[in-house]
């Protein structure tokens, strides 16, 4: 791994973490959503660094493009963008949440230290998209088809829930 890749890996990592911190501290939902888009685009860069360009592109298209647009659309629909009042919980519960977060982080880092070699072992594949497609449409075809069913149910459920009166 040469210096160019290493520099950009750390750059995208810092960008993701800084944007996530800014996202979680914004009072207004609209800037929060935009910082979350920033996190997702930085993560897309990290995916490309980790030999997953297909997932990176899907990340930008689906997460940053589609899902976050739905979030911002709902903020606009409910007219929540101008709320000046803070929605943070009290100082005590914030300190408690910080303690829980630190404990969880320590936990995760200790778990990750176990038996993870620092070098890549997988053979370099020429075409990652081919490999993903082959795996997705052969080994995981049942899960793939079930995902389409989940999406159908989600569409029907969303329409039914967001309608004016729900009669069941």
């Amino acid at each position: 791994m040469n210096g160019f890749f290493e520099f950009h890996f750390y750059l995208f990592s810092l960008l993701a973490i800084a944007s996530a911190l800014l996202f979680v501290t914004r009072k207004n939902p609209v800037p929060a959503a935009l910082w979350l888009v920033n996190v997702m685009i930085a993560l897309a860069g990290l995916y490309v660094m980790l030999d997953a360009p297909f997932v990176g592109i899907i990340q930008v298209l689906v997460y940053a493009g589609a899902i976050m647009v739905v979030f911002v659309f709902v903020v606009m629909l409910l007219n929540l963008g101008r709320s000046g009042i803070s929605d943070f919980r009290s100082l005590g519960s914030r300190l408690g949440a910080g303690a829980v977060g630190l404990a969880l982080l320590a936990n995760l880092l200790v778990v990750q230290r176990q038996n993870i070699p620092r070098i890549a072992l997988a053979p370099e594949t020429d075409n990652v998209v081919d490999a993903v497609a082959a795996s997705l449409f052969t080994d995981y075809i049942v899960a793939f088809e079930l995902t389409s069913l989940v999406l159908l149910v989600a569409v029907i459920g969303a329409v039914l829930l967001a309608k004016k009166r729900v009669r069941l």
Partner: protein, 97 residues
């Protein structure tokens, strides 16, 4: 590089957890859940580099489920807002329809 990616993933996940624990706005809570899903996706991609490409298949699945979850969750949120007039979780206390 994989160890670093996993550390970034852990930090992002914890930021999402702390966000869920400290905020009361339901939309922000949903976005924190998306952040946690993204952190897990980063772990999947890092392990896909370590082992084989299956991790990336799982990321595609997670993204699809996240899209479905966002659609249904936001529809519920619109329904809740219509009923209570707010999305502040501390003022949504009753389960009666």
């Amino acid at each position: 590089m994989i160890a670093e990616a996993l550390i970034v993933s852990a930090i992002l996940f914890v930021i999402g957890v702390v966000g869920v624990l400290t905020r009361r706005n339901a939309i922000i809570l949903f976005m924190c859940a998306e952040l946690m899903l993204n952190a897990v996706n980063l772990s999947f991609v890092a392990f896909a580099k370590l082992h084989n490409v299956t991790g990336q298949v799982f990321v595609v699945m997670v993204m699809t489920i996240a899209a479905a979850e966002a659609a249904v969750g936001l529809a519920i949120l619109i329904s809740v807002f219509r009923h209570f007039g707010t999305v502040d979780l501390s003022s949504i206390r009753t389960l009666r329809g």
